[in-house]
């Protein structure tokens, strides 16, 4: 994340960056100013702590989620998901909440973003399918025959139809994204055996 952290072993810098990133993701529902206030200087402090504890950030601080919850409680900020917009029952309020939830979800699980991007690339296929179904509906009305099932027109995946080839990259990309997210989490877990969480929360 920051190349000035090289004085610490590469693994520690990675772990610290990953930890800070995950804490920030837990605070994403707060105004950006509050998040910067709360996490400003955090990387320097955690680098020092990581160097002292042999990289055992989770052993010392607990999970990023617990850390963020303790931070909010001590700072007098609302718990995650409580507060702003809760009482807003309007449609735009619901849309805003949905956007925030989606932002939180994609920041916690970055692979979701690549999966969504991939689904968007499939949009032409959806239009093709809709056109196909419309044509089928028209044909079955005009012919006044018992309508054939729409799938009768779709090439069978078992015989190498396009549908089959479309699905494959979706699975592999999602799987690759998942693996990436797990690697970030694992970076701070390599020395988890160390000992239990130190310190207490305020909630």
């Amino acid at each position: 994340m920051n190349d000035t952290t090289v004085r610490y072993p590469a693994g520690l810098a990675d772990c610290v960056s990953a930890y800070v990133r995950e804490v920030r993701a837990e605070l994403v529902d707060l105004p950006a100013e509050d998040v910067d206030d709360l996490t400003g200087g955090m990387e320097a402090d955690l680098s020092e702590l990581a160097a002292e504890s042999g990289g055992d950030l989770i052993g010392r601080l607990g999970s990023p989620r617990l850390y963020a919850a303790e931070l909010r409680a001590a700072a007098g900020l609302p718990e995650r998901g409580v507060g702003r917009g809760r009482r807003d029952g309007s449609l735009s309020g619901a849309a805003a909440r949905a956007r925030v939830s989606w932002a939180m979800l994609t920041r916690a699980h970055p692979w979701l973003r690549s999966a969504t991007a991939f689904l968007v690339t499939l949009r032409p296929a959806w239009w093709l399918l809709r056109g196909y179904l419309a044509a089928w509906a028209l044909w079955s009305t005009l012919s006044r025959q018992h309508p054939r099932h729409p799938t009768a027109f779709v090439p069978s995946p078992r015989h190498g139809g396009r549908g089959h080839r479309y699905q494959r990259p979706a699975r592999s990309r999602v799987a690759a994204g998942k693996a990436g997210h797990e690697t970030v989490t694992r970076r701070c877990q390599h020395s988890r055996r160390y000992r239990g969480t130190r310190g207490v929360g305020l909630d």
């Binding site: 709360l38 200087g41 955690l46 680098s47």
Partner: protein
């Protein structure tokens, strides 16, 4: 009595007392609190408390850039913080004295 519960109640005062001795960054304050004997104090609780005291106008804050690593955020006490420290210190001493009397009486009759 759970020490952790007691620490929660006096964390503001403890943090103010540590910062009043000398300006410090978050982890430095955590370390000094532990060195003073408050082993139970949680890192994130101290960071959150520093932030809350700053927002309440009791602390000042400044960033110290570093050539070899990410910048540090230091906190120092200001006039309002000193007043809070004196006021909360009085409350604590009065409370501690009340508890001391209570326990002495109880132990005397036991």
């Amino acid at each position: 009595v759970e020490t952790t519960q007691l620490v929660k109640g006096v964390l503001d005062l403890a943090v103010l007392a540590v910062v009043a001795q000398e300006d410090g960054y978050g982890y430095d304050v955590v370390r000094r609190l532990r060195a003073a004997g408050l082993d139970e104090v949680g890192d994130a609780s101290v960071y959150g408390t520093l932030r809350r005291l700053y927002n309440a106008g009791a602390l000042t804050s400044y960033v110290v850039p570093s050539d070899e690593g990410p910048h540090r955020k230091y906190y120092g006490i200001n006039k309002q913080g000193h007043q809070t420290l004196v006021l909360q210190g009085k409350t604590w001493r009065s409370f501690a004295s009340t508890m001391e009397d209570l326990l002495t009486t109880a132990e005397g009759t036991a």
